[in-house]
Amino acid sequence: MFGFLVQRVMAAIPTLFIISLIVFSLQQLLPGDPALVIGGGEASQEMLAQIREQYGFNDPFLVQYWHWITNVMQGDFGVSFRTREEIGPMLAAKIPVTLTLATAAMLVSLVIGIPAGILAAIWRGRGWDHAVTVAALSGISIPNFWLGIMMILLFAVHLGWLPASGYVSFFEDPIQSIRTLIMPAIVLGAGLAAAMMRHTRSAMLTVMRQDYVRTARAKGVAEKTVILKHAFLNAQIPIITLATLQFGTLLAGAVLTEQVFSIPGVGKMVVDAVFNREYQAVQAVTLLSGAAFVLMSLLADVLYFVANPKLRTKTL
């Protein structure tokens, strides 16, 4: 296990390096002069030149990259030009918010998608299967900002059951935290729940046809155990793939959801940063999202390793 992990982490390093290089060079290609943002509209040519010199904008690309990446590795993402606030601590405050939202949305999608998919596979071609398929299609097709607005209208405005917006940390007030999270999590997780259901269904249909499922039945194993133990545990691989890869998409989707529900997360911060040409903040968030994807695929590898004895028992 340890050797496998080391191997995977080592393999992730070049990927991270390439991501950082792309993130940095894309930023360089964007139109607009960052010195203008720092100096403001009325800054003189000399002042702009001085700013460029001071911030190292005149240095060769690789030197700039080197400065940036060495700082980043020490946790220094630069300073906001507008507010003079350090970006690092700012992010550190917002990341947990977005992570909480994304994790809650993931839970929603797993809790809805997997059982619905299993049942659809077992009752294939019958009423439930069709109903779930229609629901899944709706889940994928409904834009989540619209769903969000409708839910706020119904549950917050009309019924008054749930707060319409805001965020409360889980560690401060768990109950209020969950109450504020329910709607955003459902809105963000609906699409993934639908995809999860479709994948679970097709994986289960494949596995249920396997010889070893017939063997289990021939042993006299109860049908519930056949489905949950012999079949489902073998159907996990596509579910793991989907869940880990889509976690990154959830982070991206959080941008919209955070806007709708006024949640002070990374998504809201990145939108503000783009409008204000806070290029260092944008870079930081982009790099971190990239790293999140790498981390999630690393997690996927580890989960495959746990789920598949063939990998576990292979002599490396």
Partner: protein, 615 residues
């Protein structure tokens, strides 16, 4: 007094059947309503008795076993009639009661040991589950019992293998695990559905022996389902022959084999290749074909000698070696290689059939792929029709392939399902720019007739053909380029007995008319004996014995050749009580660590052209 009654009880118990099937009819739901696949079937199995159900694909033999177990998909199938197990009427039991019968009173083993075990659980747990679903046991009791079962099925180091996963076992060992699982609750009846079909012949011998031994030890009845008449003859007391859902004939195995009444039974038996039936013949021989309707044997034409021994060989192979490197670790270092083919030499003359025979992993298929350059050999010399195969560039390689074509094992996978049979057959001709489309179609139509199909079938698609017909199409496709050599890689192995005989006869006819040379790759000793002029026995990538067919089969020299021949089931019920007492050897792996130097091999000439490896 007491003694008398108990003996009486024993006598009635011996008479009362374990399983009694009456008028069983199983139907499947299709678009047009219910279609019956097993009709009006009745048979009994007495305690300790073995009954075989034999038939070709589509005969309904597996559906019968799944009907007894009630393992067919509900809603899509319907079972009628009566199935009685002792005093239980299985068809009237509730689902929950039936679950209590499965695995406890009736256990089952299946054809595919490679896929019948759940890949994510240790085998010990899977066997233990068969115990714990029917009785409550503590963890350590279950473990002890599983270890006993693993020992019973002769798995070496049983205790230490409890926690291993299915992929760490070979096919034969997995089938032993399946058998251990089936025996867990001491069932009254074991249903064995083609349990040895997917196994190599030496492993098949071991598993058949094991089933017989365990049957004696446990005193259970066995329902044995198979397509292999040789296996039937070795295991069963009584035999039931099925044909397209109907019971054709039932009787003692001896009667069925020697006094079969129904024409189909006789046709089936006639088509079975029998090892040793070619004694005293030098040339190959067609299979006798018996008309299924009349039972009359059709006249058996003799073959003429087609081998052009005086010309230069059409295929000449010297010291052919093909290895596949294995890399491991972070830097993908070469850790060793699979020595798939190791210094193999042989020659093949025009009009000759040379068979490469051996078990899985012996390198026979890789040899076929190496001489056609479908894989790149590591070293050696191969000459096909004047081409030096080892040094060909891409375009000469294409031209060379006109001289040597292949026919593969799986007739379902080797035809593109989206291409009409006509396009599939004409494609090589058009790809090689040998003429116009019109010429291609004319030639294809001609070949379709030669392989026993009708030219109007060219508009159809592969799914409209049976397995045997597809293999004929594949042969027609191979003939489109007028090749001199055909590499037939297990070309008849996937076919039913009667179809196999017909396709073998077709290959012989084509050889007679077109002077083809065949490199016939097969694991089936009996078929090889029938069709070949010469035979090469392969073991772990090397040829251990090669020579004229008659010499190798009548006077086998190498211990492996002898072992292989002894393992082949012979369709003769007189051998029923024989046990081979084979060791539980597994087939060895041809993997060698990096830096391994293969030993130099020497051969001894037994008689003219009959060479055997020394050491």
């Amino acid at each position: 007094m007491l003694d008398v009654t108990s003996r009486k009880d024993e006598a009635t118990a011996r008479l009362a059947p374990v399983l009694s099937v009456e008028n069983l009819t199983t139907s499947f739901r299709t678009d047009g309503g219910w279609k019956s696949v097993v009709r009006d079937m009745s048979f009994d199995i007495a305690p300790r008795e073995t009954v075989a159900i034999v038939g070709e694909s589509g005969s309904g033999k597996s559906v019968t076993s799944l009907s007894i177990m009630r393992l067919l998909q509900k809603g899509a199938s319907r079972i009628e009639g009566k199935i009685r197990l002792g005093d239980k009427d299985l068809l009237s039991l509730s689902d929950e009661e039936m679950r209590g019968v499965r695995g406890k009173d009736i256990a089952m083993i299946f054809q595919e040991p490679m896929t019948s075990l759940n890949p994510i659980f240790p085998i010990g747990n899977q066997i233990a589950e068969a115990l714990t679903v029917h009785q409550s046991l503590t963890r350590s009791q279950a473990r002890a019992e599983v270890t006993r079962l693993l020992e019973k099925v002769r798995i070496p180091n049983a205790a230490s293998r409890f926690d291993e996963y299915p992929h760490q076992f070979s096919g034969g060992m997995r089938q032993r695990v399946m058998i251990a699982m089936a025996l867990a609750s001491r069932p009254k009846l074991l249903i064995a559905d083609e349990p040895t079909t997917a196994l190599d012949v030496t492993i098949q011998g071991q598993i058949l022996d094991l089933i017989k031994t365990l049957q004696d030890e446990e005193g259970m009845a066995v329902l044995f389902i198979t397509h292999d008449m040789g296996v039937v003859a070795e295991v069963s007391d009584r035999t039931l022959v099925m044909f397209r859902g109907d019971t054709v004939e039932m009787g003692t195995t001896d009667d069925i084999f020697h006094r079969g009444k129904h024409p189909y039974t006789r046709a089936l038996l006639a088509a079975v290749p029998r090892l040793g039936s070619m004694k005293g013949r030098a040339l190959p021989q067609r299979f006798p074909i018996i008309d299924i309707n009349t039972g009359e044997a059709m006249p058996l034409m003799d073959v003429t000698d087609t081998v052009a021994k005086t010309k230069t060989p059409i295929l000449d192979v010297k010291d052919l070696t093909t290895r596949f490197d294995l890399n491991a670790g972070f830097f993908r270092r070469k850790t060793g290689s699979v020595h798939a083919v190791e210094k193999v030499s042989f020659s093949l003359f025009e009009g000759e059939t040379l068979s490469l025979v051996g078990e899985s992993g012996c390198g026979k298929s890789t040899t076929g792929r190496s001489v056609t350059r479908l894989v790149r050999p590591t070293s050696g010399h191969v000459t096909v029709d004047g081409y030096d195969v080892m040094t060909l560039d891409a375009s000469t390689l294409r031209t060379m392939r006109r001289s040597i074509q292949m026919v593969f094992q799986d007739p379902f996978a080797s035809l593109n399902p989206r291409m009409s049979v006509g396009s599939a057959v004409t494609e090589p001709f058009i790809e090689h720019n040998l003429g116009t489309r019109r010429q291609a179609r004319e030639k294809a139509a001609d070949l379709m007739e030669k392989v026993g199909l009708s030219p109007d079938m060219m508009r159809r698609f592969p799914h409209e053909f049976s397995g045997g017909q597809r293999q004929r199409v594949a042969i027609a496709r191979a003939l489109m380029l007028d090749p001199k050599v055909i590499v037939a890689d297990e070309a008849v192995s996937a076919l039913d007995v009667s179809i196999k005989a017909q396709v073998c006869n077709l290959l012989l006819d084509l050889q007679q008319n077109l002077n083809l040379a065949y490199l016939f790759i097969s694991h089936d000793m009996a078929v090889v004996e029938r069709v070949s002029h010469r035979v090469a026995v392969m073991y772990l990538g090397e040829i251990v014995e090669i020579g004229p067919r008659a010499a190798v089969f009548d006077n086998p020299q190498h211990p492996y050749t002898r072992k292989l021949m002894a393992a082949v089931p012979v369709p003769d019920p007189a051998r029923r009580s024989l046990k081979r007492n084979m060791s539980t050897d597994e087939i060895k792996s041809p993997f060698r660590p990096a830096g391994y130097v293969p030993p130099l091999r020497e051969y001894r000439e037994v008689s003219e052209g009959h060479l055997v490896q020394l050491g």
